[in-house]
């Protein structure tokens, strides 16, 4: 019964969605409303106005920087939520299944980690710094940092990784992005513009562009650090086995 109902619901949804999709303007057509209305300004003046050659980064950080602030708040809130569900894990020593798995004693995994991690870190820092001029940016680079730390966690064991990046250090680093947005935004408001204005009217004209580049870099690094650290913290929280399970089968 439930199965049939679910199938019917899905079919109804599929019919509705396919119907509406068939009515959409053809994909990739230059005359679509999407290509005519707002976007031409981004593409034509983006480099000059927003200060980024990568227009996507310009939209993410400059035209729609407020969304990015919300996005970083979501990431922080998700981490806080995971702490709320699984406990904060302030204790120094934790337990994790990867410590018992024997992966970390393997020569291959350690060598691979030692060779890979510097490359991953280099790549991520490159992606962050050149995020405004080439594909990439704070989020991608930060996620790559997180991936690097994950590899080291697997290769060197959970406790080693956790002691290298202790709880309070992560706690401080996690707020970097929001703080950066708050401070950079306030700088805009104080300097005569609006919140998140980078071209401050009160500055001299010749240093405005430099200031904007500096602010964009601060934001990129803030986002990168936050994303990397939060991914690590989430992984640690998911791995840590602190409580003894009292498994009761309720069913």
């Amino acid at each position: 019964m439930k199965k049939i109902l679910a199938l019917l619901l899905t079919c109804a949804l599929a019919a509705l969605l396919l119907y509406v999709v068939a009515l959409l303007p053809p994909m990739g057509d230059a005359d679509n409303p999407t290509n005519r209305h707002v976007v031409p300004r981004y593409l034509e003046q983006g480099e000059e106005e927003a200060g980024t050659r990568n227009i996507v980064a310009g939209v993410v950080l400059n035209y729609r920087g407020y969304d990015t602030m919300g996005e970083m708040a979501i990431l922080s809130a998700a981490l806080a939520g995971i702490f709320a569900v699984l406990g904060t894990g302030r204790k120094k020593v934790g337990n994790a299944f990867i410590d018992r798995s024997g992966v970390q004693f393997s020569f291959i995994s350690r060598t691979a980690a030692v060779l890979l991690i510097p490359l991953i870190m280099l790549f991520s820092i490159y992606v962050i710094i050149y995020g405004t001029d080439s594909p990439g940016g704070g989020f991608q680079g930060g996620a790559a940092i997180g991936a690097g730390i994950m590899i080291s966690t697997v290769a060197f064991g959970f406790n080693t990784a956790q002691n290298r990046l202790p709880h309070h250090v992560r706690m401080i680093l996690e707020g970097t992005a929001i703080s950066a947005f708050f401070l950079v935004g306030s700088a805009g408001a104080v300097g005569g513009g609006n919140f998140l204005t980078y071209m401050l009217p009160s500055l001299a004209t010749q240093i405005q562009a430099t200031f904007r580049t500096a602010m964009l870099l601060v934001l990129e690094f803030g986002i990168g650090i936050t994303v990397g650290v939060i991914c690590t913290s989430i992984l640690f929280a998911l791995l840590r086995e602190e409580e003894t399970y009292n498994v009761e089968h309720a069913g």
Binding site: L23, A77, A80, M171, G193
Partner: protein, 511 residues
Amino acid sequence: MESAQHFAIYAIVTPLFAAVLVPVITLWKKNWAMPLTGLALTISLILSALLVSPVRASGYLSYHLGSWDPPFGIEIRIDFLGVFMMVLISAVSLIVAIYSRRYIAPDPSREERTFFFFGEEMEEGKRPVYYSLFLVLSAAMLGFVATGDIFNMFVFFELMAICSYALVAIPGTRLPIRAAIKYMLMAVPAAMLALLAIGLLYSVTGTLNMADLAETIASSDYTQVITVSYVILVIGFAVKAAIFPLHVWLPDAHSKAPSSISALLSALIVKMGIFGIIRVTFSVYGAYFPSGLSWVTGVLMWAAAGAIIYGGIMAIRQKDFKLMIAYSTVMNIGYIVLGFGLADVTALVGGTYHIMAHAAAKACLFLCAGSIISRSGYQTIEHLRGASRKMPLTCAAFALASLSIVGIPPTAGFVSKWYLVSGSLNTGNALLGVVVLAGSVMAAVYCFRVVYYMFFLPPLNGAWQERTREAPISMVGPAWVLAAASLALGIFSSWILPPLREAIESLLLGI
């Protein structure tokens, strides 16, 4: 008024920044979490309150983030309805934050009994997390009502959603976890539907700014796509708003969460879904509104009537105290949606006023329930007999707020129901007016039963003997403030109703 333009954005980002500071500061100063939360929310409240007069003077307030002109950057656009919601959100959040102080951290020196979260206390490490999430939640709601950009609205919607899932699950025991999972299983797909709708809308208009969208939609050829996107968007918000057939997650989530969070969920978060529907209907799809989408409002109207009847019946049948209040929320959501579904100025004024009336009264009921449950450990209505002998102040606040839920004349609930009934008579739906009145009767049954038990019956055998003490002042005080507010909002309703009516009229006409 040069600096006044920044008030709106700082009302939003101050709690967000404080949310980052709270866990860091509590690494060194354990007791600073609550004062910092209170400070940030007070700043938000003051800034939102200062926005009222400029918004009233100019109709709406527009703030361009990053100094980009609206269709290109994100715009904050606050009309009177928005500033009304901002003041409501920051005030209720502040009151609940003050209540939370002793609710989540009982004072051991006074030998307070702790029956938090159904018998288990919150571990100390989670307290800064609680305040942090609380602040982000307030900031997200403020951002949600203030924004004038539809994708930004989605971002804040998700931010709010993530905080509320986490806060429902914060006790970490069985039932809250299950309630949170049930909540997420419905709300996350709904949010994805909303994103899909925004995508559809974007693909035929090419803009994300609401005012610009309204103009583009009015002249667009893609009528069916726009209608379908409206339906999907409304479904997405309706799950969050727990409108009748989609309310399944609500009773569990609201009754199993910590009581302070239940108060916030019932008073504000479900209202955000309704606010979202109102906002997109009038500010985005305004060109289609009265004629092209009348069947959607018709469906919503009958769903609302269903919610009133179903919520009332289920609330009467409940034995669990908080579950009863949660079903009462299902019913009151029905009233607010009814005001929207009737698509009439009077009814809509009643509906929006009911947002505020219900926020004050329901938050008070949940706070009182939290005080009683945390001090006594009793959760069923049966055990409430004779509660007033030990906790007179809490029970009196509960009784006062019940009056507003039922809609007895001097309270705020009466005003909004009066408008709803006259609105339904205006539009020739006498049956719906009868439903509203029947809802009041059912509310009287379930509320006054509890009040009767509290005040006029002797305690059950052995109950309420040693587990006794009136809740501390920081828990009784907030409940009384809310109870008094629900009375004052009824008495002084003539101060708020005229500007609200103007705002609704300008919404209906299209700004």
